[in-house]
């Protein structure tokens, strides 16, 4: 026991004192937030950029104010110059393009023959804005032709806003789902990254001991199993330390920057763009209250507990595999053949999470994969914010635990034999032999 502590301590210090580790710990959050801010700023500026579109309206249907409503496009009326001259002018100028509405008898024919001329391909946004503008206008004209009263039409529109609640009457808001998804995704992704990064660290440490031959001396003092466990725990501690530091730094930077840049957290609402300003306010008031209540009600503590459990078991499971691989090879290049099989279940878990858990958290696929030990840490964690029956969690954890014990046993055997073996080409058959020693 004492020796295990010694080993853990040494492994921890060795990782934490590494210059690269320290730099990455303090630099990463800054870099990440910097990148996000940069992207946000750039996106914002490109959205606010306006473009000029010239138009020639031979149909006589469109008036100046029809085109005045959109903020991102400025319209210039060149109808008087005529199409051909307009084409020449626009080609040389900085307009995004020329919109041509022909003169036809039938509204449908007009719609069909509208053209947009531009030197370079126009942006999708411009075209879709133009289309929706023209669409609306022509639709209105058609309705006039058909004799439909526009005022009555406007009054007939209904605004549906379904309110959700579960059977015990606890209401839920739309936005909470988004947050649940966010938390679940975040947790799942986090676990995957941690396992891959720190598992690989364990593996490299094992390989280093093999190549430097220090292993020969160490295993005359400690049992291979102690060494393996010590390495896994020591590395885990280093990783957790890094995470904690990241968390703190990110929180600080986030709070700090929202004062500096006045980042408007309310503007990033999903699906808010389609609604009118008034409706949005109404909705916002109702929803915000609901949202707040619901955030408080989220099973945050139990989620956290499960996060820790799955995280721990998942990491232990995978890092013992990584240790075994490190022991089986002679250098890092040989590890390539084993990297894919290990990453597959992890990536599978994340993909399944993104694909099915969003839509169908309690469906078959999601449930099954939250039970399978290799994907369960990720998939189950993504499901938990949506509420999972306790018996499912129990089964999933038990399976994970049993598999973990089994894998550690096998990995320990491979480790024990592998650390002294050099020069042999490693195949799965060979590994099986080692397990039987």
């Amino acid at each position: 026991m004492n020796k295990l502590k010694l080993i853990i301590q040494r492994e921890f210090l060795a990782k934490v004192r590494n210059r690269t580790f320290i730099v990455m710990t303090f630099l990463s959050p800054i870099l990440m937030i910097g990148m996000i801010a940069l992207v946000a700023l750039l996106t914002k500026s490109s959205i606010e950029k306006t473009s000029t579109v010239a138009f020639v309206d031979d149909s006589g249907l469109f008036h100046g104010d029809d085109f005045g409503k959109d903020k991102s496009i400025v319209f210039e009326d060149l109808t008087e110059i005529g199409l051909e001259k307009a084409k020449i002018i626009v080609k040389e100028s900085s307009h995004e393009g020329l919109l041509y509405i022909p003169s036809k008898q039938d509204l449908d024919e007009i719609a069909y023959n509208i053209q947009f001329f531009s030197e370079e391909s126009p942006s999708m946004i411009t075209i879709s804005t133009l289309e929706s503008l023209l669409d609306k206008k022509l639709e209105n004209e058609k309705m006039k032709q058909l004799g439909i009263d526009l005022v009555k039409l406007e009054k007939s529109k209904v605004n549906i806003d379904i309110r959700m609640s579960n059977f015990s009457g606890i209401k839920s808001s739309k936005l909470i789902n988004g947050i649940k998804i966010g938390i679940g995704m975040g947790a799942g992704y986090l676990i995957m990254m941690f396992i891959i990064i720190y598992g690989a660290m364990v593996m490299r440490s094992v390989i280093e001991e093999k190549t430097s031959r220090i292993i020969e001396v160490i295993i005359s003092s400690v049992k291979p199993f102690q060494l393996m466990l010590g390495k896994i725990f020591g590395t885990a501690l280093a990783g957790l330390t890094q995470f904690v530091v990241w968390g703190l730094l990110m929180a600080l930077i986030f709070i700090g920057s929202s004062y500096f840049f006045g980042v408007d957290l309310n503007n990033s609402g999903v699906g808010m763009q389609q609604m009118g300003a008034e409706q949005m306010n109404q909705l916002a008031q109702n929803e915000t209250q609901l949202l707040f209540d619901e955030l408080m009600n989220l099973p945050l503590i139990s989620t956290f507990v499960f996060f820790i459990l799955y995280f721990l078991l998942g990491y232990l499971l995978y890092s013992s595999l990584y240790a075994a691989i490190g022991a089986a090879v002679d250098n890092e290049t040989d590890t390539q053949q084993f990297m894919l099989p290990i990453m597959l279940p992890l990536m599978l878990g994340v993909y399944i999470g993104f694909a099915t858990v969003i839509n169908d958290p309690h469906g078959t696929i999601a449930t099954v994969f939250s039970m399978i030990p290799f994907t369960s840490p990720i998939v189950m964690l993504m499901r938990i914010p949506f509420g999972v029956p306790w018996w499912q969690i129990l089964i999933s954890l038990t399976l994970l635990l049993l598999t973990f014990l089994g894998i550690v046993w096998i990995a320990a055997k491979v480790y024990r034999v592998g650390i002294l073996m050099y020069g042999k080409k490693i195949s799965y058959k060979e590994l099986m032999k080692w397990v039987r020693y």
Binding site: L6, S212, R213, I214, E216, V217, S220, S221, L420
Partner: protein, 304 residues
């Protein structure tokens, strides 16, 4: 003491019922061609591998996991954590061997000063020269004052001065009561240091015992002589008729007849001296004692 150790790796038999006894406080040479099974045997004593059959006894009792604290091992393939500071590393390894931190620190300072590497305490292993790293590893092996020391090719990589230093230390340790197993291909060091030897060949023990006794066994009763005489060829012819004579080469300042004379069992050395004196004047007279090198080669060849 090891009894009837059998170790197989799959279908390969590494050790076939090998039994050895290392007397306490002696220096024991473990010899053998490459791949004979020496390293496997050493690993079993260090509890790095377990035997398939047989038992190992340490100090009269069966070998227990705790005994690693009383055994020191210098492997043939040397290595340390390259990026760890040497003082810290030595402390870590000593603690793994059961020493307390303070104890280890004290002993470490003593050895560092003895080997003159104290100023390097906070340097990383990769900053040391090879010779220094070797010295460091030696210190790490002996730091916890083990009862049994196992050295696998201890002199490899040392220049003559450092090799001498190590040799003196080994003798010191023996004098302080440690039992030492010493595996090497350097036969001169075996000659100098070992009281007992054993030879392992193709998984079997083919030779075992006190070096002196073994040498007596292999003795061929041959004497290396240098004779000063007027007529060398005549003398040579004459001697050839009486004895089994073959040419000898040894360094001398005279231009004498150099011969190896092999006597039959019942002839003694004194008889030969008397005879030679009557025929010539003896300038060089030495009994040919089989070298460990010769013994090694003979034994291996005989058992192939």
């Amino acid at each position: 003491m090891a009894e009837n150790i059998v170790k197989n790796f799959g279908s390969f038999k590494a050790l076939n019922k090998v039994s050895l006894e290392v007397p306490k406080g002696s220096i024991f040479g473990l010899l053998g061609p490459n791949g004979a099974g020496k390293t496997t045997f050493i690993r079993i004593i260090n509890q790095i591998t377990m035997p398939d059959e047989g038992q190992v006894y340490f100090d009269g009792k069966p070998l227990a996991p705790n005994d690693v604290h009383f055994i020191g091992y210098l492997p043939e393939e040397r290595g340390l954590y390259k990026r760890m500071k040497i003082g810290e590393q030595a402390l870590y390894l000593a603690q793994l061997k059961g020493l307390s931190k303070q104890d280890a620190k004290m002993k470490l300072k003593f050895w560092f000063e003895k080997f003159e590497i104290t100023p390097w305490w906070n340097k990383k292993v990769e900053e040391l020269s090879k010779g220094m790293a070797q010295k460091l590893q030696f210190i790490i092996t002996v730091l916890h004052e083990p009862k049994l020391l196992i050295f696998d090719e201890p002199f490899s990589g040392f220049d003559p001065i450092n090799a001498n230093l190590i040799k003196d230390e080994i003798i010191n340790l023996k004098n302080q009561g440690a039992s030492i197993i010493f595996s090497t291909h350097r036969m001169e060091s075996v000659e100098e240091l070992c009281e007992y030897i054993a030879l392992i060949h193709k998984a079997n023990k083919v030779l075992d015992g006190k070096l002196i006794d073994i040498k007596k066994q292999y003795k061929t009763n041959t004497f290396e002589v240098g004779l000063s005489t007027a007529d060398k060829s005549a003398l040579k012819m004459e001697l050839k008729e009486r004895f089994d004579v073959s040419p000898a080469s040894f360094k001398s300042l005279d231009d004498d007849l150099k011969l190896n004379i092999r006597l039959a069992k019942d002839h003694t050395s004194s008889d030969l001296i008397k005879y030679l004196n009557s025929k010539s004047s003896i300038t060089h007279y030495k009994e040919v004692i089989p070298s460990v090198n010769d013994i090694f080669i003979q034994t291996v060849n005989r058992n192939s």
